[in-house]
Symmetry: C2
C-alpha cells in the first residue's frame, strides 16, 4: 500500500495546508515581499499560517509591511485556503463516492440531487464559478466606491483584495496600522458589501445553492433551515445586546444610524470574518465576552468560516432540551437526530474548549499579559476569526508559535474530527456489559 493510499482525507487536507503554508512563508520571506528589506522567517510563517487558515491575526500590518507582491501571495493563500476548505467540506463525500458512508453525502444528494461523477464535477465548477462571480461583482462595487478617493488602480486592487478577503472570511485588510475598517465605521457601502460577503461565505455552499434554487424548488432542507435560523438568531442577539449596552459607551459619538450600522457590523463579524469597524478595546468587557461567545460558535459547515459551527451549537442545545424533556431522541422541526451526531458535536465542542484552555494556560505562562486579552486572542485564533484586543503584536516567539498552532488546529480541528468520525469503523466483536456510574 502506497503512502498516498494510507493517508485518509483529513490527513491529506492537513498535509496540503502545511505545504501551502510552507510555500507561502518562503515567498513572504523573500526581499520582493517586504517593503523594507526582508522579513524574519517566523513573521513570514505566522502570516502564511494566518492567510491559509483565513484567520487574519497579524504580527505586521498587511497594508504597510508587505509589497504588492507580498499582498498578492497573501491573497492567493486566502483564496486557496478558503475555497479549498469550502470545497473539501462540501465535496469530500461526493468525490470519494460509495466507499464512505458519510452523512454529508446524503445531505448533498438530497440538496443537489447530483449523485453521479459528472454531477460532482459540475457542482464543483458551479461552486468555483459562483464564488468568483460574487467576488468579482463585490470587488467592482467596492472599487467604484473607492475610485474618487484612491484613483482607479489603487481602488481596483483594494476592491479585489477586500472582496476576496471578506468572502473567504479572512479578515486581512490594507488600510494600515492594524486599523481594519475603523476608519470607515459609518460608510454604508463598505459595511454592507463586506459584511454581505462574509455572511454569504459563512453560510456554506449547500445553503447558498438551496437559497438560489428556492424560487424553483420552493424547498429548503432541514440543514439549511437550521443554519439560517441559528445564524439569524445569533446575529439578532449580538446586534441587540451590543446596541443596547454600548449605546452610551463605545457608540456614543455616532449618529443613531451610525450606532445601528456599527452595532450590526460588530455583531456579524465574529462569524468569523475578523474585520472590525469599532476599536475593540473601546468596548465594554461584557461586549468583549459576547464577541468571544460568538467567535467560538463561528459560521456554518461547508463554508469559508471557522468556529465550532452553528449547527454543532444548535444540535447540542436541542439534545439538552430533549434530555430535560425526558425524550429518547434529539428532535428538530419534526426530525430526529441520530445520537452519534450529538456525540460528534459534543466532541467538537469539548475538544475546542480544552484546546482553548490549554493554549490560554500556556500563553499566560510565557507572557505577563491581561487574561481578557489572552483569552480573546486564543478564542479568535481557534475560530479563525482574526479579531484582536492587541495581544498578537505584543507576542514573544513562543507566544507566536502557540497562536500559529491554534490557528492551524482551529482551521482543521472540527473538520478533521468531523470527517474522522464519518467513517464507519469496524465495530468491536465484543460488546461490554453496561456499567453503572453516578453523575452530577
Amino acid at each position: 500500500m502506497s503512502i498516498k493510499r494510507s493517508l485518509n482525507p483529513p490527513q491529506l487536507l492537513a498535509l496540503s495546508f502545511l505545504g501551502l503554508i510552507f510555500l507561502g512563508s518562503i515567498l513572504l520571506s523573500t526581499p520582493w515581499a517586504a517593503k523594507d528589506g526582508t522579513t524574519d522567517y517566523l513573521t513570514a510563517l505566522f502570516t502564511a499560517t494566518s492567510a491559509v487558515c483565513v484567520t487574519g491575526l497579524v504580527v505586521v500590518d498587511t497594508g504597510t509591511h508587505w509589497t504588492m507582491f507580498g499582498q498578492l501571495v497573501i491573497l492567493l493563500m486566502i483564496q486557496v485556503g478558503g475555497l479549498g476548505v469550502m470545497s473539501f467540506a462540501t465535496f469530500f463525500a461526493l468525490l470519494l463516492g460509495k466507499r464512505i458512508q458519510l452523512r454529508q453525502r446524503l445531505i448533498m444528494q438530497q440538496a443537489l440531487n447530483q449523485p453521479t461523477m459528472e454531477g460532482i464535477v459540475k457542482i464543483f465548477r458551479y461552486l468555483l464559478f459562483f464564488s468568483f462571480i460574487i467576488e468579482a461583482v463585490a470587488g467592482l462595487v467596492l472599487a467604484i466606491h473607492w475610485v474618487p478617493d484612491m484613483g482607479l488602480p489603487k481602488a481596483l486592487w483594494y476592491g479585489i483584495f477586500h472582496s476576496i478577503s471578506a468572502f473567504n472570511n479572512a479578515g486581512f485588510d490594507l488600510f494600515g496600522n492594524f486599523t481594519s475598517l475603523t476608519g470607515q465605521t459609518t460608510d454604508l457601502v463598505v459595511n454592507l458589501v463586506i459584511s454581505g460577503l462574509f455572511v454569504t461565505g459563512g453560510l456554506g455552499f449547500v445553503v447558498l445553492y438551496e437559497i438560489l434554487h428556492y424560487p424553483k424548488t420552493r424547498k429548503l432542507s432541514l440543514h439549511s433551515r437550521m443554519v439560517l435560523i441559528t445564524t439569524m438568531l445569533l446575529i439578532g442577539i449580538g446586534f441587540t445586546v451590543i446596541l443596547a449596552s454600548e449605546y452610551n459607551h463605545a457608540l456614543r459619538n455616532l449618529s443613531p444610524g451610525g450606532k445601528i450600522l456599527a452595532a450590526y457590523f460588530q455583531a456579524v463579524t465574529p462569524r468569523t470574518a475578523g474585520f472590525n469597524s469599532l476599536e475593540l478595546t473601546s468596548l465594554l468587557l461584557s461586549s468583549q465576552l459576547l464577541i468571544m461567545f460568538l467567535m467560538f460558535i463561528g459560521g456554518s459547515p461547508g463554508s469559508t468560516a471557522g468556529g465550532i459551527k452553528t449547527t454543532t451549537f444548535t444540535i447540542l442545545w436541542l439534545a439538552i432540551y430533549s434530555i430535560l424533556r425526558g425524550k429518547k431522541d434529539t428532535e428538530i422541526l419534526g426530525r430526529r437526530i441520530d445520537h452519534r451526531e450529538v456525540f460528534r458535536a459534543l466532541a467538537i465542542v469539548l475538544l475546542a474548549l480544552l484546546l482553548i484552555f490549554l493554549i490560554t494556560f500556556l500563553v499566560s505562562l510565557t507572557h505577563e499579559a491581561d487574561f481578557t486579552k489572552v483569552l480573546f486572542e486564543v478564542v479568535s485564533a481557534m475560530g479563525t476569526v482574526g479579531l484582536s484586543l492587541g495581544l498578537t503584536t505584543e507576542l514573544n516567539d513562543p507566544g507566536k508559535i502557540l497562536i500559529m498552532i491554534t490557528m492551524f488546529l482551529g482551521r482543521l480541528g472540527p473538520l478533521t474530527i468531523g470527517y474522522a468520525l464519518a467513517y464507519d469503523k469496524k465495530q468491536p466483536d465484543v460488546r461490554y456489559p453496561e456499567g453503572k456510574i453516578m453523575i452530577g
Copy 2:
C-alpha cells in the same frame, strides 16, 4: 392530588433549601448574631445562602463580624446543607424505592447490598454516625493542636467549627480578615487534617463505604474506581503544575517541605473545599486558570462537594475517546456506559458553562471589575467552592444577588438535572424520521 405529591424530589430539595436559607437569614439578621448591632438583610441572606450551599464566599468576615451565636447558626446551616445533600444524593433512590427507575439505586444496591426499607434506614443511620464520628475525632485533633495557642474553650470551638466546615466542604473559617488558612501555610497538622476532611467528604458516601469494607469484600465498584482514579489524577496534575510553576514565584519564601505542603493544599482545595493556605492573588495567572478548571470539575457525586463532578468529567472524555476511536459505545474498565448517561453528563457541563458565561456577562455589566476576578468568583460560586480573588467583598447589591443565585444554582443544578433525568418519562408515541445535518 395534593401539592406535596405533585412536587418531585428535586423540587422538594430546592424548596427545603430555600426554607433553610430564609430561616438562617432571619436568625443572622437579629442583634444576637452580629458583634456590632445588627446586620443588613442582604448580608445576612448572602451569608445564609453561602452556608446552606456550603460555598464559603462571604461579604463580611465570619470570625470578626458574627457573634458565637451567629457562628453557631452558620455551622448548623453548613451541617444540614452539607449532610442534607450527601444523604439526598445517596438515598433518594433507595428511599423512593421501586417507583423510580434510577441508576444510582442499582449502584447503591450493588455497593451496599441493602435493598429493603430496614436496610435503607440502617444505612442512613450509618452515614450520619460515620460523618459525626469523623467530624468529632478530627475536631478533637485540631482542638488539641490549638490548645497551647488558644486555651481550651476557644480551641474546642475552633476545632469543631473547622472540622464541620471542612468535612462539609464549606470553607468557612474563623481566622479573621478573610485570611482563611494563609496564617498556617506550613502547619502540617492543620493542613493534613483539614484537607483530609474535605477530600474524604468530597469522595461521596458510596466510595467511603466501599473503601471501609474493602478489607472484607476485596472489591470496589466501577463507580468507586472511577472516582478514585479521577480524583488522584486531578490532584496529581494540580500539585505538579502548581509546584513547578510557582516554585520560584508564590512559593519562593517557603522551605522545600513548605513548598510541597502549600502546592498540595492549593491543589486539593478546588474540589470544592474553599480553604486556602496561600494568598490566591499572589499566584500566577496560569495557576489561577488551573484552579478555575479544577473548581469547575469539583468533587464526586453523593458527597458534600460541588462542581460538575469527577465522574461527569471522566465520562465525557471517555465518550470523546470512544467517538474518536470509531466505537459505538462509551467504554471504561471493561464496561460500556449507556449513551443516555453521556447525554446527562453533557447537559450538566453545557448548562454549567452557559450559566457561568451568563452570570459573568451580567456581573461585568454591573461592575467595573477585572475579568479574571469576575470569572474566578463566578466559577467558584457555581462549584460551591468559596475560593476568591477578592471580588465578593467589593460587590454592589446587584452583584451580590447574582453571586447568591449562582451559589444556589450551583448547589442544586447538577443534582436537579441529574435527578430530573433519572425518571423514565413516558416515551412519545411517534418517533420522528431521522434528519441529516452537517456538523463541524
